[in-house]
């Protein structure tokens, strides 16, 4: 057993080994989830009946499956189909797929709620100026809906960055896996390594949800958006 390293070294180690994958998985999961989620919300609100059904079914399905199950299904299933792809990349891809498919279900709900909470008077005023339905949606409803979605969306960011830790279960080295390495190498301080890990996650979530969640909520209310 080696000497116990000083605290800054532990923190630096976790960040150096794990931060890149944690942030990469979060960024990809959120942004793919954003594109899918927004599309699902549009289908649900403005799409034909079949599209709305599909969207609603998708939401129910992916909100009902534990993330770890999705990760296992992709991580164990994909290599059979894509045997020619590098295994590490495929594992990363599995987590990204799981995170983004599930996040899409939640983001769809966020955007649907935001679109519906733009008051009908806004659309009416836009139409009364002669805007087409599509113009009214694009120039008046969407800009407001996206702003209204920010507080819930920052919450979704916090969920995804924390859930990126599930990647450790299939051997991807992100922050949680790095902390695990510390804990097995220096067993006397196993608790400390997880405490540091917890604080790191907190530092990556709290300021963001604080700024984009609470403050933005207040600002939106002050701007009179969302009809109450």
């Amino acid at each position: 057993m080696s000497d116990i390293p000083p605290l800054p070294e532990i923190i630096f180690y976790i960040l150096r080994r794990g931060l890149y994958h944690s942030l990469l998985l979060t960024a990809l999961g959120l942004s793919i989830g954003f594109i899918l989620g927004l599309s699902l919300a549009l289908m649900r609100v403005h799409g034909a009946k079949e599209l709305a059904w599909f969207s609603s079914g998708y939401e129910k399905l992916f909100r009902g499956i534990p993330l770890i199950v999705l990760i296992y299904v992709f991580a164990f299933g994909l290599p059979d189909i894509f045997w020619y792809i590098d295994p590490l990349e495929l594992r990363l891809g599995s987590v990204v797929l799981a995170l983004s498919l599930r996040s899409a279900a939640y983001q769809s709900q966020i955007f649907r709620g935001a679109i519906l909470s733009v008051t009908p008077g806004q659309t009416e005023a836009a139409r009364s100026l002669g805007m087409k339905e599509s113009q009214a949606f694009r120039h008046i409803v969407m800009p407001q809906a996206l702003r209204l979605a920010v507080p819930s969306w920052s919450n979704e960011y916090a969920v995804v960055i924390k859930d990126s830790s599930f990647a450790s279960t299939i051997g991807i080295i992100e922050m949680t896996q790095a902390a695990y390495f510390v804990s097995v190498n220096f067993q006397e301080i196993w608790a400390l390594s997880y405490l540091i890990l917890a604080i790191l996650y907190l530092l990556f979530t709290y300021p963001i949800t604080r700024i984009f969640g609470e403050r933005q909520s207040k600002k939106l209310k002050k701007m009179g958006m969302g009809g109450g």
């Binding site: 008077g121 009364s128 100026l129 002669g130 008046i140």
Partner: protein, 251 residues
């Protein structure tokens, strides 16, 4: 200039409009009043097809805009509307509220649209507030921007849907003043309002709507001197009690 012919509209079992017809000429101001639920707002919404009528036609400069083959968006660009609750675009500054129609509907380049918007804001004395968001403005100021937004499109006619009824009493005067100014400048206006001082000052004709039909119409003098039906007499009496007279606010 605008002709409304036999408009019918119902919501399920509720017959809101039962055959309303009238005509308004260039530069005229028509005031529509009557008890709540009489179909006043619905009538305005039928005219610009926000709620298309079940039956009847609306002709704008001879063109039937209720016909299905008409490009209703192009028609709406020629019919301004001012809303009871202002309905300013909450995410846009006052000046952008006024310029967005010019840019997106009339295809003005940005500079030109902003210049014109500022000009129109000046005409409603709101140019100093151009860079403020609606929520930073008082109700009266918001409504003046709402009027500017409609005016900027150079519409053939502007519909006013109870433009002052959501305002605190001390803010009504500034909005009515703007409406008087643009009426005197020759804007064709159809105004749903209970502001009888305004009606007296500029209406070329007043229409009393009750239960979805025109009960009585005539000049302001007719209504204030010798209204025919009991309903109108009673209604005007109630208005006096409720609202008093705002004439003192009108210069």
């Amino acid at each position: 200039m605008l002709r409304v012919v036999d408009i019918w509209k119902s919501y399920e079992d509720l017959h809101v409009l039962k055959g309303v017809s009238f005509e308004i000429g260039e530069g005229e101001v028509k005031v529509i009043f009557g008890p709540s639920g009489s179909g006043k707002s619905t009538l305005l919404r039928c005219i610009n097809m926000l709620n298309p009528p079940d039956k009847g036609e609306v002709y704008l400069r001879g063109q039937n805009i209720t016909a299905s083959e008409v490009n209703i968006n192009a028609m709406r660009a020629r019919i301004g509307m001012v809303f009871q609750h202002f309905n300013l675009f909450a995410h846009l500054k006052a000046i952008d509220n006024v310029s967005i129609g010019l840019r997106r509907v009339k295809g003005f380049p940005k500079e030109e649209a902003q210049a014109k918007a500022l000009e129109v804001l000046q005409s409603v004395k709101m140019e100093k507030w151009a860079d403020h968001y609606p929520a930073e403005l008082s109700g009266g100021q918001q409504q003046r921007v709402g009027i500017a937004r409609a005016l900027a499109m150079d519409p053939d006619v502007i519909l006013f849907d109870e433009p002052t009824s959501a305002l605190d009493p001390e803010l009504i005067g500034e909005v009515l003043q703007v409406m008087l100014d643009i009426a005197k400048a020759g804007t064709t206006m159809i105004v749903v309002t209970h502001e009888m001082g305004f009606a007296k000052a500029v209406a070329s004709e007043m229409i009393f709507l009750g239960d979805g039909v025109i009960i009585e119409s005539g000049t302001p003098e007719h209504f204030f001197v010798s209204p025919k039906s009991e309903r109108v007499k009673n209604f005007l009496k109630q208005l006096d009690v409720l609202y008093g007279s705002h004439e003192k606010l009108l210069k």
